[in-house]
């Protein structure tokens, strides 16, 4: 029995048999061709078949994942049908080469040319050319591409990487677990696994070679562990935990369709955090009351080029339509820090978290910001869209954003394009500067949303990624809790809603504090929505206040933690 560790990407416990998905062999014996015109016809048919298949996949991916992912696949069709490229291949066939060899040589020639380019974007296209080559080779050789749409019951998929084209038709009934060698919490594989509610452990090194086809494994997507070859005891323990997990999940179903209220009947809002349209559907499936944080970075990270106004508009509009009139808080581009997008050409900085990022970048790059704000304004005609500005440090930034929005709304007015010119604009509170001036910001902001992850980092002056100092990173620190308390108080004094969209909003030990402070909106991952509603229902304001009083007297994070742990319901 061996335990393989990875990233806990989608919660739950799956027990099943390993099915290893590897790329099929595309070896062939090069031949000399006599009948060049027949061979060229063979190549054309293979390209047509590949294009048809890719078009079908793109349609499925557009429906289930989003436009940006579908556009990548459609780009593949444009590339392989390039007349110049096809002519080059046909030239080689005329010279006596077989279609496979002609395809391979020309694709490799372009891939090598792309790789030699001096910009990242063109270099990344080399991988696309090689993907296309494999796809057309599959057609020429009659090899079926990996198909996971029909697998036996109780299958655990084990693969190097779960790519969108592979997951488009994933059999959600029979796949009980997913294990990959690459990817992380925010990868396509993770987003899909969570949306399909299939337990997944990602980034397990050597999973494909160390797991055995057909063997029984336990995929613990909550803890991020894969148990290979479990003994009888481990297996029965896993079954017990699986049943308990399912029972708890089932018990939460009684909160579906209910309002989110405290034990003494005080209602709050419970929203979901999303990073894709698939996530938005998961919010609806889990009975979320809106979207409290839409991270728009995925639109910018996937495509390899700046998404156009039209592409952004479609994504925001779809999110608004999926939420059917419920609030959708969309955060403007939050890049920089640890999130780099090669084509934006951000320079390496000494202190990226204190540097040119988020709203600072957007205000300096009006061309980029204009595209996004115009897309957001257009989408505001299709639902309750609200705009949230990240990394604000002062009221001037908010004023600048408002001035831009006003200008673009006037442009639309002249052009006769529908938009909500009074679209609410809120501030994400994540810097100590914003927290300490929350009363000033509250005079001009339409809402606050506390980003506890960055607020903790900046308040504690700690880089979470640095092993030497990570121990200092704690939302339980009195400094962070006092900061949050005063932000909420400032917002409530000014009569604006105050939400929270960091991980702390779903922490059952912290929820009584938020109730006591008067938080009006909780935004959590879609999978945590019902559990958060259940926790909120257990606390009355009086009980929460009593606990908060002792907790706020505590001197250290560990004292706070101990008191809150003792209070968990």
């Amino acid at each position: 029995m061996a335990a393989l560790e990875g990233v806990a990407a989608a919660p739950g416990l799956g027990i099943g048999s390993v099915m290893i998905i590897t790329d099929p062999s595309l070896d062939y014996e090069p031949r000399t061709v006599e009948d060049a015109s027949a061979e060229k016809e063979r190549l054309r048919r293979a390209i047509d078949a590949f294009s048809d298949l890719t078009r079908e996949k793109a349609a499925v991916v557009r429906e289930r994942v989003g436009d940006a992912e579908a556009a990548i696949l459609e780009g593949h069709i444009l590339m392989i049908t390039d007349p110049y490229m096809v002519a080059e291949m046909e030239g080689l066939i005329d010279a006596g080469q077989c279609a496979e060899a002609a395809l391979e040589q020309i694709c490799e020639m372009f891939a090598t040319m792309f790789e030699a380019a001096d910009d990242d974007l063109t270099r990344q296209r080399a991988a696309d050319v090689r993907d296309i080559k494999s796809g057309v080779l599959c057609q020429l050789l009659g090899v079926r591409e990996v198909d996971v749409s029909c697998v036996p019951q109780g299958t655990v998929l084990v693969t190097h990487d779960l790519v969108p084209s592979m997951t488009a038709g994933l059999d959600r009934e029979n796949v009980v677990g997913i294990v990959t060698e690459t990817g992380g919490m925010t990868s396509h594989s993770a987003i899909l696994a969570r949306a399909l509610e299939i337990p997944a452990v990602l980034a397990v090194p050597g999973a494909v070679t160390s797991l055995v086809e057909g063997a029984t494994v336990v995929v613990d997507g909550t803890e991020g562990v894969v148990l290979a070859d479990p003994d009888e005891e481990a297996l029965s323990q896993a079954r017990g935990r699986r049943e308990q997990y399912l029972r708890e999940k089932e018990a939460l179903q009684r909160f579906v369709g209910k309002k989110t209220v405290t034990a003494d009947g005080c209602q709050v809002e419970l929203f979901g955090n999303i990073g894709s349209l698939e996530d938005a559907r998961a919010v609806v499936a889990n009975d979320g009351e809106g979207v409290g944080l839409f991270r728009t970075e995925f639109l910018f990270m996937d495509g390899g080029a700046m998404p156009t106004e039209e592409e952004q508009f479609r994504a925001y509009q779809q999110a608004a339509l999926i939420m059917k009139g419920r609030p959708v808080i969309i955060r403007t581009l939050d890049i920089g820090g640890d999130k780099d997008i090669p084509y934006l050409g951000l320079e390496k900085e000494e202190n990226p978290f204190l540097g040119f990022r988020a709203i600072r970048y957007c205000l300096a790059r009006e061309d980029v910001f204009r595209t996004q704000l115009r897309a957001l304004l257009r989408a505001s005609a299709y639902g309750d869209v609200r705009i949230m500005v990240p990394l604000v440090t002062g009221v001037e930034e908010l004023r600048q954003v408002r001035a831009l929005i006003r200008r673009y709304a006037e442009e639309f007015d002249r052009e006769g394009v529908a938009c909500n010119k009074d679209v609410p604009v809120g501030v994400m509170i994540e810097t100590p500067a914003a927290a300490l001036t929350a009363d000033i910001l509250a005079r001009e902001a339409d809402f606050f949303s506390i980003g506890t992850n960055d607020l903790t980092g900046y308040t504690m002056a700690v880089d979470r990624g640095n092993d030497r100092v990570r121990y200092l990173y704690s939302t339980f620190h009195p400094a962070v809790l006092r900061s949050i308390r005063s932000v909420i108080a400032a917002g409530l004094d000014a009569g604006i809603p105050v939400g929270m969209c960091g991980e702390a909003a779903a922490d059952p030990s912290l929820i009584p504090l938020w109730i006591s402070f008067g938080l009006t909106e909780y935004s959590v991952s879609p999978a945590s929505i019902l559990a958060t509603r259940a926790t909120i229902a257990k606390w009355s304001a009086a009980d929460a206040d009593a606990l908060a009083r002792t907790v706020m007297e505590a001197a250290t994070p560990s004292e706070v933690h101990k008191l809150l742990r003792g209070g968990v319901r």
């Binding site: 780009g75 444009l78 590339m79 390039d82 007349p83 110049y84 490229m85 372009f110 040319m113 792309f114 380019a117 001096d118 910009d119 974007l121 063109t122 296209r125 390899g304 080029a305 700046m306 156009t308 084509y343 061309d367």
Partner: protein
């Protein structure tokens, strides 16, 4: 043959998307359409060739058209490049 010189202004240079827009728009013309930049000659009807050329924003390029509908092809190409190639 007709030709015109123009500076490329769209943000990210001639990458996949703008290259695709240009190649698709040039395909219906009978004329040969060539982009000359940094001494390289690139077939403007080929997405792959345009991408491989790695022409960047701010580069001065010459568009050459030769054939029966050369003036129409040139006007179409210049119009598209001026409008930012769909970006």
């Amino acid at each position: 043959m007709v030709s015109q010189t123009i500076t490329l202004t769209n943000g990210s240079g001639l990458h996949m998307r703008p290259a695709g827009v240009l190649a698709q728009a040039m395909a219906p013309f009978a004329s040969n359409v060539t982009i000359v930049a940094d001494g390289k000659e690139v077939n403007a009807k080929s997405l792959m060739a345009i991408v491989a050329s790695g022409i960047k924003c701010g580069t001065e390029i010459e568009v050459r058209c030769e054939g029966d509908d050369e003036q129409a092809a040139l006007d179409a190409a210049i119009g598209l490049i001026e409008s930012g190639l769909g970006e």
